[in-house]
């Protein structure tokens, strides 16, 4: 048996302490784990749902927000970094994040090139004695890495070279994503052992991608003409389709993070419905309250903010807590995107920091609150909210710092290798023609 643990840490800590107290359980744990076909089918499905979030979900969501002349470049960058991540994942990503041994920051690289993984090896789930085929676990986690690096690109579109994007992706995955995934999710990871709660990737995926996006766009600089020239989204229809695909796919992301087809997955599922619903409406209400019309893009933005916020809380909250969390995150993200960004003047083109970064932080801290049994969450007896919030804050703080430094290193290295930014002429003409020799719409 290969012991791979990827745990919404509350469950993990709970389970481990229960074993210590009950010798009968410990004996059961020693028996060979069995693979359940229902769980396996659900996890294979979840992996594909997360892939659908990337292509075409995120590609359309981001592409619609860009200008006509950059539509293909956005879609191509999203798709190409996802593809690249899959290769890197097999090469050393899985080994670095979830391989055997290693320390609290990264695993040992003994599973590089998936060495030792076979159809008969397994990965642990949250239930003692129930395991997943390791290949399925490898695929599921692979899609998480792929979407996270694609999310980062939202802040740098319309001006970053395709070659720079590819170089950046490889470096960023290696020095930022894999270590943070290990710290939060691997059984010997730094935050996992402290009991940090991150059900499906609020820190690993969203704070990580959001902060990285901010740092990347600060180094890269603004688009020519920003913020003086109008740069409205070229197709909110595409963005709307992308939003729908992301929402549907997110059930693989959140409910899939239960690693089994069971009640915990059901809890994550209902929360992914209702937190998102409340967030979509909350954004539109905030628009009305601040004197504007409730907008389609506002609805889509709220949906994403809610999905981001409920990600760490999916299996760590009751439905009512999730509804409140979604609404709060949506309102805070609204102000981050519409007030904070113009005030500070950075060009986070598609608001990756404003929604994933800020929403991720609200979600990570909020999870430390809604986890409470008093608020309908699944916290065990003797759980301390104060202590949990302290652990959450440490995790968030370290992730922010790690992502910021790692991104700066990756971006400057990509700059050395490729020049980073397209020429002003290419930027004005559009990256579709300049970088790919194609036009999105020949009409």
């Amino acid at each position: 048996m290969i012991s791979v643990r990827r745990i919404g840490a509350g469950f993990g800590a709970l389970a481990l302490s229960a074993f210590a107290a009950a010798p009968a359980f410990a004996q059961a744990a020693a028996a060979a784990p069995t693979v359940n076909k229902g769980d396996t089918a659900w996890m294979m499905t979840s992996s594909l749902l997360v892939l659908m979030m990337i292509v075409p979900g995120l590609a359309l969501f981001y592409g619609g927000l860009a200008r006509t002349k950059n539509m293909l470049s956005v879609m191509t960058q999203v798709g190409a970094v996802a593809a690249l991540t899959m290769l890197v994942w097999v090469g050393w990503g899985y080994a670095e994040a979830f391989g055997d041994g290693g320390g609290e920051y990264i695993a040992s690289f003994s599973k590089a090139l998936l060495h030792g993984v076979s159809p008969t090896t397994t990965a642990a789930t949250f239930t003692t004695g129930v395991a997943l085929p390791e290949y399925v676990f490898v695929c599921f986690q692979m899609t998480f890495a792929a979407i996270t690096v694609a999310l980062v690109l939202g802040s740098v579109v319309e001006r970053m070279k395709f070659s720079a994007v590819m170089v950046f992706a490889v470096l960023w995955l290696t020095i930022v994503y894999f270590p943070i995934a290990h710290m939060v999710w691997a059984s010997n990871g730094k935050f996992f052992t402290k009991g940090a709660l991150d059900y499906a990737g609020g820190t690993v995926v969203h704070i990580n991608s959001g902060v990285s996006a901010l740092v990347a766009c600060l180094i890269l600089g603004k688009r020519i003409g920003y913020p003086k020239e109008p740069m409205p989204p070229h197709s909110l229809t595409m963005t709307g389709i992308g939003t729908g695909l992301l929402w549907v796919g997110w059930f693989g992301f959140n409910a899939g993070s239960a690693l089994e087809a069971n009640g915990a997955a059901g809890l994550a599922m209902i929360n992914t419905f209702v937190a998102t619903a409340s967030a979509g409406l909350a954004w539109m209400l905030t628009e009305r309250v601040t004197g504007h019309k409730g907008s389609a893009l506002g609805f889509c933005s709220g949906i994403i903010a809610g999905l981001v916020a409920v990600t760490p809380a999916a299996g760590n909250s009751g439905p009512l807590g999730a509804i409140v969390l979604g609404a709060v995150a949506s309102v805070v993200c609204f102000f981050a995107v519409t007030k904070l960004k113009p005030k500070l003047g950075y060009d986070d083109a598609l608001d990756t920091f404003g929604i994933h970064g800020i929403g991720g932080m609200i979600g990570a801290m909020g999870t430390g609150i809604v986890y409470s049994a008093a608020l309908g969450g699944p916290s065990p007896d003797g759980w301390s909210m104060g202590h949990q919030l302290w652990v959450q804050a440490q995790t968030v703080g370290t992730t922010i710092l790690w992502a910021a430094v790692g991104t700066a290193v990756s971006i400057y290295a990509a700059k050395l290798a490729t020049g980073l930014r397209v020429s002003p002429d290419v930027e004005r003409e559009g990256l579709d023609l300049g970088e790919h020799g194609e036009r999105a719409y020949n009409m």
């Binding site: 913020p227 740069m231 506002g298 519409t338």
Partner: protein, 112 residues
């Protein structure tokens, strides 16, 4: 022969087309255009970024007719395209020098 160019509100297109067909207009060319006149543009807001759109979408109708039909065309367009609100559009009448039907080679009034 005259060429009537009418700039109208997009949602009035079908109404104008039907009314013109009823008075014997045989054809027209329609394009989606943008422009500005006395009507102010509208404000659009995307995630808090406000853009004032100074160009307003309109429909441009090009209608070539025998000179005798011009008063009826002008009257019909004015009657059907009018809402009474600012932005109803404009109408231009130009002299038409030559017309040719490509398929048959017919010219001028015969080609209209």
């Amino acid at each position: 022969m005259k060429l009537v160019i009418a700039i109208i509100k997009p949602f009035k297109l079908d109404e104008v087309r039907d009314a013109l067909a009823a008075i014997g207009v045989q054809g027209m060319t329609v394009s989606e255009v943008r422009g500005f006149g006395r009507q102010k543009g509208q404000t659009e807001i995307y995630r808090g970024a406000e853009y004032t759109m100074t160009m307003v979408p309109k429909m441009k109708l090009e209608i070539a007719v025998p000179a005798g039909l011009v008063p009826a065309v002008v009257e019909t367009v004015q009657h059907t395209a009018r809402t009474g609100q600012i932005g109803d559009g404009k109408l231009f009448v130009l002299d038409l020098e030559q017309v040719l039907r490509i398929r048959t080679g017919e010219t001028n009034d015969e080609a209209l």
